[in-house]
Amino acid sequence: MIDRVFKALRQAQLIGAKRGRSLLVVGLSLLSGSTLWAQAAPTSRTQQLENLRLEKNATLWPERTSPVVEFVEGMVERGMLSGRLDTSGGSGLQFPVFGGMRSGNGFSIGVGYRRLDLWRDRLGVRMVARGTGAHAYKLDAQVDLNALRNDRGHVDLYAAYENSPRMDFYGFGPDSKKEDRASYRLEDTAVDLRGSYRLAGPLALQARVGALFVNTGPGTRPDVTPIPDGPEQLPGSGLEEQSNFLRYGADLRFDYRDNPGGPKVGGNYYLNWTHYRDQTTDRHSFDQLAMAIEQYVPYFNKTRVIALRAGVTMTSASPDQTVPFYLLPTLGGNEFLRGFGWYRFSDENMMILTAEHRWHVFPGLEAALFLDAGKVAPRAQVLNFSDLEYTGGVGLRFKINEIVFMRIDQGVSREGYRMAWTFSNVF
């Protein structure tokens, strides 16, 4: 037993651990009366323990606080771990911030700063700057007017500037060809004031008004033709003029998911209407209507979840107006029809059907089998179940505190395999 204690003391560096010293050194130190080893053999168990304590006492060290521990504990105690992913806690510098930019422009990383405690919690501010290796940038800021927040209502102001030089466009409609891929730059600035009010239970109404300033140009994706020189001339698409929009809309939502960041039970149904008014050319004003039903059916103590989604997005414009191509509903990419490339299909209307079977691997990881089906159409009347595009695949969802922060999906479609790595949940 005692040998074990000495060994542990040595392991804990309480006793010097330099190896290779000769026994002679020890012997000489003993003969010279070294404290540690020169004790008389104990005559009682009490004395034996006293000796051990005496030896420990002779080699006490102060307990140390690792700077890493201080840093991590500081983050945890400020609610940083949860606060990065939801709206509570976590004020301070946020680094790194992954995701949050338009897809298809490279791996993004950013730095943010959030303060939710300003004006005695009546004002919350969040600012993030992000960028990718493809020279895409995004700067955004949100001001939460918590003074106007109560258990029913909430108001915030959101502004963002984003420059995406590698946006893809394949042409209009479901019959667009993969080889027609063209690249364009989408640079926009948006400012939106949003207010929401919970009408009853999970039923909430949101209204918003804002402005969108758009600038497009040739894209920079290598080996892909920039749009102005490409096969599509896009007459009336919005490419030839730079429009500024006034936009406003409303959102009616019935959301009773248990955990919006990683739902396992409940549902989320919404109807979203937005009107875009072209303030520059008066040629691209239109309305957009999006509807979706998301349902989560758990079993086996929530270690399995069947997640279902059906969504439709429709746009309409008066005869003298067109929907600009960069605001068209799209399919393909990391969210919809995951076996197709980003923005693979674009048209004025879109529908998507998704089914996922998710299962527990360990608390930080969930796996999923998924099937997407969808189509785009020039008219809402042809949004039916014929000529659907399909994608199947498997995925991994990485979670912290039950919130999905990263997702890897491998999808397969008639156009081949595609892997999606993104920092958001699919739904």
Binding site: D3, W37, P62, R304, V361
Partner: protein, 993 residues
């Protein structure tokens, strides 16, 4: 376990002798039992004064456990037996553990009492909320009910009322009855109206800072907890005793390096290994270092020492943190390679039994069951090394305690959870009973579960717990008696036949009963239906046979031989001292040891010094030894250490003492007549060494000590950049204290750089060692390594454990910028409040006269600064802001400053309404003139004080001490005079040591 079993390297006979000498413990000599075995209690603990608070990270701990291996595991060749136990295998009682319900059955009332039920928060009192913590791992309210105790209230989440609070209370009482130290927890029901934000209260924000508490902060927290919808809340109140000092969690491996009583690696402590069984029973899946706490017992009736608690049981039974338990919890670790691969490969089709458990829908219970429960397959969320190290005898030790709880016992404790749903309470009782039985079934089969050995009527009797608890019927035992050679540990069979019997008694042969006193006999007991054995050891005495020890042997048990250790150099700091240091230390050590009735050598005595005393002695004497003294003509005057003739006392860290009484060496000085003039005008006799310092170019006569260094008014400080040595000497010049100042004493930096705290002279604090080595190279930082540091002493105590605030003095409303109060005390109050409470530095600076700029000295140079008014203002603004940054804004003036009294009657004190915060004195014109920074000197002030005629009325002084949470802050003396009809600060002085 015996030395004869030890494999040693080839060595000469001399080294074998040395090895024998080295083996200074009983077991290495081969002695198995001591006369006082079995030891029930740990020996009286060593005194522990300077253990430091230390946070640990549960997150880092988790990753280290999940993806690495902490602590020592069983080697491949065998197992490491539990430590911290006596020869019966019982955990020695003391600061870790006290056997309770198992040793003496507790009544239902005692079980329900737990760690205590005498001190609940007063339900009829108004509860002052001192701290609101809304973020992080443990959220809640720190309250005071007006008694000596504080309480930390924790709540349920809205979806699961009563679940978390019930689990905390119920499991806390179980763990108490099982023998652990726990907090006193009370279930309280109260209305919002009972809570009041304390005027000095704090809200911890999401940025991690504190701010003055407001009622809305309390509401913000309560909005997210379970309530009855009518303003009523239920919470669990952890009592925080006033006498306890909490140091943060303990690690589940290794030992605390600053606690001499902590000698057994935690991963081998039986009470922590066996904790796995208790945790499985109560589903304490979140058991981790964060669920523990070290504290210092500081009651007058005990020697201050560390004790070790389990504190957090919110996540026990079916409860999780903020939600019910996840389905996997208790059945799989949060991460395991094999379990994860199984789940992943199962593609969601293959499901494990725990996924399919049908839990009853009790909102106050969560996920808790007993039918699928298998104690061996139970998992904590994070792997823990003591749990991994649990052996069958550890598990038996724990399982027999679990089995000691009857259904009635369980029911009595579960009732303290005060569940409003009787079905929920009944379900918990049923689960605990069912899980208890499974624990008995599993672990009583891992060893031969015998205990309570005794000789009765010529028969060896014992209890077979498997039989006692009805898990099996009777069985047949056989006993082989032997004689133990206590020095070698070898057992020699006694020439008697193997005997057998049933029903837990076996006849003992006559030779056993008639053995000579002082011998040891062994009885090796086996059962026909078990592969395991138990060996009971008896010591013969005139009174018969007394049980001396028990060993459980299970099938396949192989005790790992002590690991091969190469001989190593042992750190003995005494041996590292220089001859000069030893020459100084040895007589002191011998005298101190003799005074304590001991006969320790200096080396031994050095080992008994507290850590901070050793580091202080080394640092101070090293600095003195490395400091040469030179006369102005270049003649050598020796070294500074030569001037010290004896040590009177080595002062290390002393909590709650000022920085001028810690981390210094009190010395006797050389006795040669020399006189200086005391501030009072008296001629004083000083030593020659003072004369030497006076002559040396390395020291100068500093300002006399008027506030600090009581009894040592004369100060000599080393010249040059920091750090420097300071001699503070008595009036007769025969004694003094010597310390090393690592922080600037120049005002205004001294107010906030730590000079007036213990950090100033503690070699271990902050970057002090680096500074020391830069000036006096050669000191070894043996107490420090790359990864760690000693925390600064001015670090605030954790907010959860702050003392109740004083009642603040009411203040008038904030006056506008540039206001000119008619009374000087109002001006002083406004200035201080603007500065330290409101943080309005600009408004505070408006009270400063342009004359005061001469008081600025922004570096360590002796010469005062010559700077423009704008520069002076900028520097002053920076200094005042820096102080606020360090101390933080205070909720009120009472929390910010404390009045101190002047030492001279020349400046009479005037009463005023803020005299608890600062002292107001009348200052004679002549003294005020001499106090001006541009002309101030000790000599000048002394000259003025010698006059007996004083003219009062034009000047006033305010004196106060800045409050720091743990230390005495700096003292400021401020001179006020009227300029253009407004009271202005015309001069000031930061009084330093």
């Amino acid at each position: 376990m015996c030395s004869s079993e030890r494999t040693v390297m080839p060595m000469t006979a001399m080294f074998l002798v040395i090895l024998l000498l080295v083996s200074g413990t009983a077991e290495l000599f081969g002695q198995k039992f001591f006369p006082n075995d079995p030891l029930v209690n740990e020996p009286e603990p060593y005194r522990v004064d300077d253990a430091s608070p230390r946070p640990l990270s549960g997150l880092i701990d988790y990753f280290e456990n999940a993806f690495g291996e902490q602590g020592e595991r069983h080697p491949s060749g065998g197992v490491i037996e539990a430590l911290g136990v006596n020869t019966l295998g019982e955990v020695m009682e003391g600061s870790w553990y006290n056997l309770r319900h198992y040793r003496t059955r507790m009544s239902p009332a005692e079980l329900a009492r737990g760690a205590g039920n005498e001190n609940p928060p007063d339900p009829n009192a108004s509860w002052e909320v001192l701290t609101v913590k809304r973020f992080g791992t443990r959220t809640g309210l720190l309250i005071s009910d007006g008694s000596d105790s504080l309480y930390f209230l924790r709540f349920d989440v809205p979806r699961q009322p009563e679940m978390m609070t019930g689990a905390q209370v119920v499991s806390g009482k179980f763990f108490w009855a099982l023998g652990y130290w726990t907090t006193q927890d009370y279930l309280v029901n109260f209305n919002r109206s009972q809570l009041q934000a304390s005027e000095g209260g704090k809200d911890i924000t999401s940025i991690g800072k504190t701010r003055p508490l407001q009622e809305e902060d309390i509401d913000a927290l309560l909005n997210n907890v379970a309530s009855d919808g009518r303003g009523g809340y239920r919470a669990v109140a952890h009592r925080i005793a006033a006498e306890a000092r909490l140091l943060g969690p303990f690690q589940l491996f290794g030992t605390r390096s600053d606690d001499p009583n902590d000698i057994f690696p935690h991963e081998h402590r039986r009470e922590l290994r066996g904790l796995r069984v208790f945790s499985a029973w109560l589903n304490h899946v979140y058991m981790s270092t964060l669920a523990t706490m070290d504290g210092v017992a500081a009651r007058p009736d005990t020697t201050p020492h560390l004790f070790h608690l389990l504190i957090d049981f919110i996540g026990t039974l079916g409860s999780g943190y903020g939600q019910i338990k996840s389905a996997y919890e208790g059945y799989e670790p949060a991460f395991g390679w094999m379990s994860s691969l199984q789940n992943l490969a199962g593609m969601g089709v293959y499901s494990k039994p725990w996924m399919r458990v049908n839990y009853p829908k009790h909102r106050s219970v969560g996920r808790f069951e007993y039918e699928l429960f298998d104690p061996e397959e139970w998992h904590s969320v994070a792997p823990l090394v003591p749990f991994d190290n649990m052996l069958p005898d550890d598990a038996f030790w724990a399982a027999r305690q679990v089995m000691a709880f009857t259904d009635a016992d369980i029911r009595a404790i579960v009732a303290t959870g005060e569940y409003s749903d009787p079905a929920a309470e009944e379900w918990i009782v049923r689960c605990l009973s069912g899980r208890r039985d499974k624990i008995g079934q599993v672990y009583f089969n891992k060893v031969l579960p015998l205990e309570k050995f005794r000789i009765e009527g010529g028969e060896l009797a014992f209890d077979d717990l498997a039989v006692v608890h009805g898990l099996i019927g009777s069985r047949t035992y056989s006993v082989t008696w032997g004689a133990l050679d206590n020095l070698t540990g070898q057992i020699r069979p006694i020439n008697v036949n193997r005997v057998s019997g049933t029903m837990m008694t076996v006849p003992a042969p006559e030779i056993v009963a008639g053995a000579d006193p002082g011998r040891y006999l062994s009885a090796t007991i086996a059962a026909t239906d078990s592969p395991h054995e138990v060996v009971a050891y008896f010591r013969t005495s005139e009174n018969g046979l007394n049980l001396a020890g028990i060993e459980h042997h299970w099938e396949g048990k192989v005790v790992a031989p002590p690991a091969e250790e190469e001989t190593e150099e042992i750190v003995s700091r005494y041996n590292e001292l220089t001859p000069t240091q030893r020459e100084l230390f040895d007589p002191y050590a011998v005298a101190q040891s003799a005074a304590a009735g001991k006969n320790e050598t200096p080396d031994e005595y050095f080992g008994t010094l507290r850590l901070s005393e050793r580091t202080t002695f080394e640092a101070v004497t090293h600095a003195l030894e490395e400091t040469s003294l030179t006369a102005e003509d270049g003649t050598s005057l020796g070294i500074a250490l030569d001037q010290v003739v004896a040590i009177e006392r080595i002062a290390g860290a002393y909590l709650n003492r000022g920085g001028d009484a810690q981390f210094r060496v009190y010395v006797k000085l050389k006795d040669t007549a020399y006189t200086v003039t005391h501030p009072s005008g008296l001629e004083c006799y000083l030593s020659d060494r003072v004369h030497t310092l006076e002559k040396s170019t390395e020291f100068f006569r500093d300002k006399d000590n008027t506030v600090f260094h009581a009894g040592y008014p004369f100060s000599y400080r080393q010249t040059g950049k920091l750090p420097n040595i300071q001699f503070s000497m008595s009036e007769d010049g025969l004694s003094g204290d010597v310390d090393v100042d690592y922080r600037s004493s120049k005002s205004p930096q001294a107010l906030w750089n730590g000079h007036l705290t213990a950090s100033n002279s503690d070699i271990r604090a902050g970057k002090n060692y680096v500074l020391h080595d830069l000036r006096w190279a050669g000191l070894v930082d043996w107490w420090l390594d790359y990864f760690g540091k000693v925390p600064e002493y001015h670090v605030q105590r954790p907010d959860l454990f702050v003392a109740p605030p004083e009642t603040p003095t009411p203040l008038p409303p904030d006056r506008p910028y540039g206001a000119s109060p008619a009374l000087v005390q109002d001006a002083a109050q406004e200035w201080l409040t603007d500065w330290l409470v409101r943080g309005n530095i600009d408004e505070a600076i408006a009270f400063m006269s342009a004359q005061a700029k001469s008081c600025l000295n922004v570096d360590d140079r002796e010469r005062l600064e010559q700077m423009s008014l704008a520069d002076a203002k900028a520097h002053l603004q920076m200094s005042m802001s820096s102080l606020v940054d360090v101390l933080g804004l205070k909720a009120n003036l009472t929390e910010a400053v404390d009045a101190i009294l002047p030492w001279s009657e020349v400046v009479p004190v005037r009463e005023h309404e803020f005299d608890g915060e600062f002292t107001l004195v009348e200052v004679p014109d002549s003294v005020a003139a001499a106090f001006r920074c541009e002309v101030r000197s000790d000599e000048g002030l002394r000259d003025v004080l010698e006059n007996k005629e004083f003219q009062y009325g034009n000047y006033f002084g305010t004196m106060f001490r800045l409050k720091d949470d743990r230390n005495q802050g700096g003292v400021l003396s401020v001179l006020w005079a009227k300029e253009d009809g407004a009271w202005k600060i015309v001069s000031w002085e930061a009084v330093t040591d």
